[in-house]
Every structure is written in structure tokens, then in C-alpha cells.
Subunit: 331 residues, 2 copies
């Protein structure tokens, strides 16, 4: 009888102890930064091309990393990193944006400040050189979050932002891509959206995303990039997220907010939350998938994608850093 | 010694049993519907005005209720109810929409199907008589979720939807409101957005929202109404939500998805989740607040608002129904 009782107590104790949260000690980074410049592809990128991409990814990373190392804000870091990526013709944002079906460029961008949950975004703009700068000014100088089309351009002009002819964004590569899509009566997969998430020395998280959208798009189609809660979120207490991928899926699943909610309400780790959303939700939907880059309040970085490749680079105050396009073992 | 052991076992058993979910038996409605037509105001509405509003709210309700009673789909019920509200000049959607700073109308709408998480939306449209119809066609006949501006109009025209001159939406009341705002160099509070959520006999939940936005808005400002996850969400397994209020707050908090997530990930009841978001998040932010209407998978209805009034009407298969503007005790 005694033995049975002791066994029961031990069993109870085991069940009870398993209910307690097992919190491993977490190293908190002083600062942390991660960027993406698109995800997609039906195969891995050849090694030499990857090496070329990594040069630009590392240069972009250095922009934000330098700001953070010098005690600058996460907001400045993500904005300036995205400006670099917008100006780089390699990616689908700013210069180098894909073309709409009628051979033009319509750009979207968003930014969020995790310290106060303020946010700004622009959608369907055709002449603002750096849409992410416009998004930041919407956040800081208007009572609004989202401005679209000509109205957004008028605002950017009033604010003294650089205005360019629509042809500024055109590159020969994207022209050829559109010609091929028109021949096939198809729309392209959304590749090359750019974004950045950062945690600064003051514990502030910020996130920004910018894109030219989907090649061959029409009817003023807007994806997830300018939608706070879909592509972009920042909350100092939980996480910052920026996304790249098949925007419609991101909107339907409120991907960025879903990662936030799985962490805050369900207690999932950043890795678990990002995995759950990308693999158990996005990957199960009909579409071309994509990826997210995330930083939690401790500076932990997660880059999760269900595509063959994702252009990305990352750095932490503890010294860990890198750039990659194809999957790497350490992630 | 025996007594101590028995006490310990009992204590363990109590702790364990308290871990089990205590699910009360819930009455499941055969169908359920709730609509809103805006929230706001600095004081309660006079009784006689409320009575006039209730006539229109009840008429709108009858549209959707009849569809549900006859075995129609939640999607048809919310679309047709919102079409009625768009056509009614009393509310800020379709005919009767507020005016932008330059005396025009820019309309936004969204719809979501909780059976498959498909969604559609339009933003900044100026000539589509019923934006909610366009939102539904975006969902059903394109691979996209969000179309904006002239592109959205071109799509609506291709689909044979009724196109009207921008002046169709103008009413004397909204003209006078704009004149007053311009005199005060102000923007109006967002009042009169409309929306509907329904659960049909097949267990499908749908939600739709439509608005003219904020009176005196400029720069192509877009609020939460066309943003899936902010104003509108539908998921058969959890909840449907439509919102009205200060759209920027809704976008920053991903309100509709937040209610979903608090229920699905944190186990809150519909009432608790809506209360948490409206009172502990929205009401604590600087802004003019607003409200949400929600239906969970059992057909339970919650209407939560932090404003003085919210135009609303509701009905359940079990017989409970009503229309109200001012707060009522039974809620």
C-alpha cells in the first residue's frame, strides 16, 4: 500500500513539474540585425552567383550594423538598410522593381516602431525614389498609417523626398522578365522584396519592408508589403518581423501578427512560432510560399522560409554574423 | 503518516483537476447575424433619432437574416447586408460616404470567407457603386486579395459591376460636414463605416466591411476597412469580426486578427477577447476608439465598443434579436 501511494505521489509530482515552464537562460544581445532581399526560386542558386549576391547583402548589412554598433536607433538601422536595398538594382524594390503588366512600376513599403507601435506605409506609388522613407514620414508626420497612389506621392513631394520619373526604377533584367511573362500570359512569382528587422542598444525593435510587388501585376494589385500585421510588425516586448513571399497568403494569414500572437499568447519560442506559421500554415496553402526574418526581444534571430532560397544576412552584437542565399546548416 | 500521504494525493488531484478545461455546455445557433453601421459620437443619440436609425438597421438586418433563414450562405448574407447599408445614404459607405479634403469620395471595402480563408478587398475606389461587391469579385475571380484605385475600378468594369460618377456618393449632409471641417482645418472622426458578420446553417462564417473613410482625409489615406486582419477576419473554427472606428489604431493593433488569436491561442471566450482588445488596447491609445462586431463558431454574438454609440443590429436562430444605437443593458 505504501509503495502504491509513493508511486502515485511521484507520478503527481512529475506531472506537476512538467507543467512548470522550463526557461533556459537566454543570452541577451546588445543589438541584433537581420535583412532579407527576397525568397523564391525553383532550385538552389549556383555557388558563384550566390557569392556575388552575398557581396551586396553584406554591404546592406554593414549599413544597419554600423548604425546599431554606434548606438543608433533600430528605426534608423532598418530604414537605411532598406534604402540601400531599394537603391541596389539587383532586388525587387526601388531601382530594379518588377514591372506591372503595362510596363510601369508600382511600389509598396511599410515600417513599424516597436517602442510605441507607431507605423507608416505607402502603396501603389510610382515616383518616390525610396518608398521606405515615405513610409517613415507617414508614421512620423501624419496621423495616418497608410497612404496610397497619387496622394502618397503628393505627401512625399510636400515633405521634400526625392521624386523620380517612373522609368528610374526600370532595369533591363526586369524588362526582359516582363516580356517573357507577357509572352506566357502569366504573372511572375514575387521574388526580391526586401526588408530588415533590428534590435538596438536601447531595447527598441523596428521592422521595415519594401517591394515592387509581383511582375506582370495588374488592376492596382497590392500585396502584403505595405500591410502592418501581414508583412511587417514590431513590438519591443515580443518580436519584430519582415516578410517576403506570396503576399496574398501573408494577408490572408496575418503572418507577422500571427508570429507575434503565437509567442505572446501561446508561449511559443520565436523559432517555434516562425516554423508554425511558415510550415503549418503558409506551406500548406496553394501558392509560392516565402519567408520571414524575425528578431525577438533578446536579439535572437530566426530566418524561416519554405522556398528553395532566401537572400539574407544577419549580425549580432555577440559576433555571430553571415550572409546566405541557399539554406545553410547552422540555421 | 498515512493521513499526510492521503492529503498530498488529494492536493495533487485538486491541482490536476483544476488544470482540466471546464467547458460549459454551449448552445449552438443554427445561424446568427450581426451588423454595424458606425460608432462614435461624444454623446448618446436622442431617443427619437435612435428610433429612426433603428428602422434602417432593422431593414438591413432583414436582408441578411432572410438569406440565412432560407439556408443561404454567410457570404451572401454579409455581402447583401452591406450592399443595403452602402445604398442607404445615412451611413458612411457607398451613397452617403464622407468627402475627402478636395470634395471627392474614396471608398474601401473587404470581405472574407471563413470556410477557406479566402479574402478580397478594394481601396481608394471612386466610381464603383458597391465596393463590397468588387471586394467579393476580387476574392472569387482573381488570385489577389487587394486592388487599389483606378486598377480596382478597371477590374470592376471588366466584371460588369455598376460604375457611377463620383458625385453619386454625395449627400447634402456630408457636404455640410466637409465645409465645417475645412473651416476648422480639421479631419472628421471616422463615423458610419458599415459591416456585417454571419454564421450560416452549414457552419460557415463570413465577414465584410465597407467605408468612405475619414471626412476631410487627404493624400490617399486608407484606414483599416480594406485590411484583412485589421478590420475584417473570418475563420470557421474560431470567429468572424468586422470593425468600425479609428482605422489607424485598428491597423497598428491588427484588431480582427488579435481577437482571433486571443481566442485560438490564449483560450479566451469571444466576450473576453473583444473586451481585451477594445478596452485594454484600443481604448488606451490616443484616438477616437470604435467598436467590433463578432460571431464565434457557436453563433454567439458580441458587440464591443468604447464610443458613446454604435449603430448595430443582430439576430440569432434561437429568436434573440434587436437593433440599437445607444448602449443597452442586455449586452
Amino acid at each position: 500500500m505504501h509503495k502504491k501511494l509513493i508511486f502515485l505521489i511521484l507520478a503527481c509530482a512529475m506531472v506537476l513539474s512538467s507543467c512548470e515552464e522550463q526557461k533556459p537562460t537566454v543570452q541577451k544581445e546588445e543589438w541584433s540585425i537581420v535583412l532579407h532581399a527576397g525568397a523564391g526560386g525553383s532550385q538552389l542558386m549556383p555557388k558563384d552567383t550566390e557569392d556575388q549576391y552575398k557581396i551586396f547583402l553584406n554591404e546592406a548589412l554593414t549599413v544597419g550594423k554600423t548604425i546599431l554598433e554606434n548606438g543608433g536607433s533600430a528605426l534608423d538601422a532598418v530604414e537605411q538598410t532598406v534604402v540601400y536595398l531599394e537603391n541596389c538594382p539587383l532586388f525587387n524594390a526601388g531601382k530594379g522593381a518588377v514591372m506591372t503588366m503595362d510596363g510601369r512600376h508600382e511600389l509598396d513599403a511599410s515600417i513599424m516602431d516597436g517602442s510605441n507601435l507607431m507605423a507608416g506605409a505607402v502603396a501603389g506609388v510610382t515616383d518616390i525614389k525610396n518608398p521606405v522613407k515615405a513610409a517613415r514620414l507617414v508614421m512620423e508626420r501624419t496621423p495616418h498609417v497608410l497612404l496610397i497612389g497619387e496622394g502618397a506621392s503628393a505627401f512625399a513631394r510636400e515633405q521634400g523626398l526625392e521624386i523620380v520619373p517612373n522609368s528610374y526604377f526600370t532595369t533591363e533584367g526586369k524588362k526582359a522578365e516582363l516580356a517573357k511573362l507577357l509572352e506566357q500570359h502569366a504573372q511572375g512569382e514575387p521574388h526580391g522584396t526586401v526588408g530588415c528587422v533590428a534590435l538596438d542598444k536601447n531595447g527598441n525593435i523596428a521592422a521595415a519592408t519594401s517591394t515592387g510587388g509581383m511582375a506582370g501585376k495588374k488592376w492596382g494589385r497590392v500585396g502584403d508589403a505595405p500591410i502592418i500585421g501581414a508583412s511587417t510588425i514590431a513590438n519591443n516586448d515580443v518580436v519584430g518581423v519582415s516578410s517576403t513571399g506570396h503576399g496574398e497568403l501573408w494577408i490572408r494569414q496575418s503572418v507577422a501578427h500571427d508570429i507575434y500572437a503565437l509567442m505572446d499568447y501561446k508561449g511559443l519560442s520565436l523559432k517555434e512560432a516562425a516554423h508554425e506559421v511558415i510550415w503549418n500554415k503558409i506551406d500548406k496553402m496553394e501558392g509560392s510560399g516565402g519567408g520571414v526574418i524575425c528578431i525577438d526581444k533578446n536579439g535572437e534571430i530566426v530566418m524561416e522560409f519554405d522556398t528553395k532560397v532566401m537572400n539574407r544576412a544577419w549580425a549580432k552584437s555577440s559576433g555571430e554574423c553571415g550572409a546566405a542565399v541557399n539554406p545553410v546548416v547552422s540555421e
